[in-house]
């Protein structure tokens, strides 16, 4: 193996390693998509369990009037109009139970709309 071939081989190995590192450094698991439907002062489902560190894509569909879903502690706020779903992607970084509330005033039962997000290990 002459010097030129050796040099090319080393470069190829380094390039491959670099590409591999770059690829693994940027790859993230696809977020888990969770659909939530809001209608007449309730969410369906009204309880969700996710894993800490797992990216989540929460999609909110308002079936009657405009609704929202806000988790103050997680800094997540989704707004949805009728026929215009809203969504938010986030990764819960700590375990616990987090209660989300409707963040768009929707009528007499607005304050009772809750969805509990359980974040587990």
């Amino acid at each position: 193996m002459n010097r030129r071939t050796l040099s090319l081989s080393v470069s190829a190995v380094l390039l491959s390693a670099g590409l591999l590192t770059q690829t693994s450094g940027h790859s993230q698991p696809a977020p888990r998509r969770i659909e939530v439907h809001a209608k007449r002062f309730s969410y369906q489902p009204n309880e969700i369990t996710v894993k800490k560190g797992e990216p989540v894509l929460l999609v909110l569909t308002a079936e009657d009037v405009s609704h929202g879903l806000r988790f103050r502690e997680l800094n997540v706020d989704i707004k949805a109009k009728k026929d215009q779903p809203g969504q938010a992607q986030f990764t819960p970084e700590r375990t616990g139970d987090f209660v989300g509330h409707c963040s768009t005033f929707c009528g007499s039962g607005h304050g009772s709309m809750t969805l509990t997000l359980h974040v587990v290990e």
Binding site: R70, R72, F105, S108, G109, G111, T114
Partner: protein, 156 residues
């Protein structure tokens, strides 16, 4: 028979006269204020779980705008509310010392349960706990009277 009918009419007239929304006297106001602050309004020791900051203040202003403004005005001081002085008891300015003397817990209790028979409704279930506490933050940082305009509903 005629006497009985006259008595009934007299009673009805007296009853209706007693229903007029006249301003309460000093004694009535004083007794009511004492009773509310020291006996009737609960939640005295409850603490606001929300810290006062720009975000919670904005949240409180937003929650207040859902329907509190209809009676209290955008600024909580009745600005632009045409009937504020015409109901009995009159709608108080929420910036007044009498209101501001309530603890945060008492303000939340009032928001939850209302004050019977003043006309102040309870909002438990209509607004979330989170929103109600943010309104308490807003009540502690009301804008200057008249600076927030008139509620939209009275602009038509």
């Amino acid at each position: 028979m005629a006497n009985q009918a006259a008595s009934v009419l007299l009673l009805l007239a007296a009853g209706l006269a007693g229903c007029r929304a006249t301003p309460p006297g000093k004694l009535e106001s004083g007794v009511a204020s004492f009773a509310k602050h020291h006996v009737l309004i609960g939640g005295k020791d409850q603490k606001n779980p929300l810290q006062a900051n720009a975000q919670t203040l904005a949240d409180g202003k937003e929650a207040f705008s859902h329907y509190c403004v209809v009676c209290h005005g955008n600024d909580g001081q009745n600005t632009g509310v045409p009937f504020a002085d015409h109901i009995s008891p009159p709608i108080p300015s929420l910036a007044s010392p009498d209101v501001q003397r309530y603890t945060d817990g008492q303000l939340k209790w009032i928001l939850d349960n209302g004050i019977r028979p003043s006309g102040m409704p309870g909002s438990k279930g209509i607004l979330s706990d989170d929103e109600l506490w943010s309104i308490v933050v807003y009540l502690r940082h009301l804008p200057p009277a008249g600076s927030a305009g008139t509620p939209d509903i009275y602009n038509h």
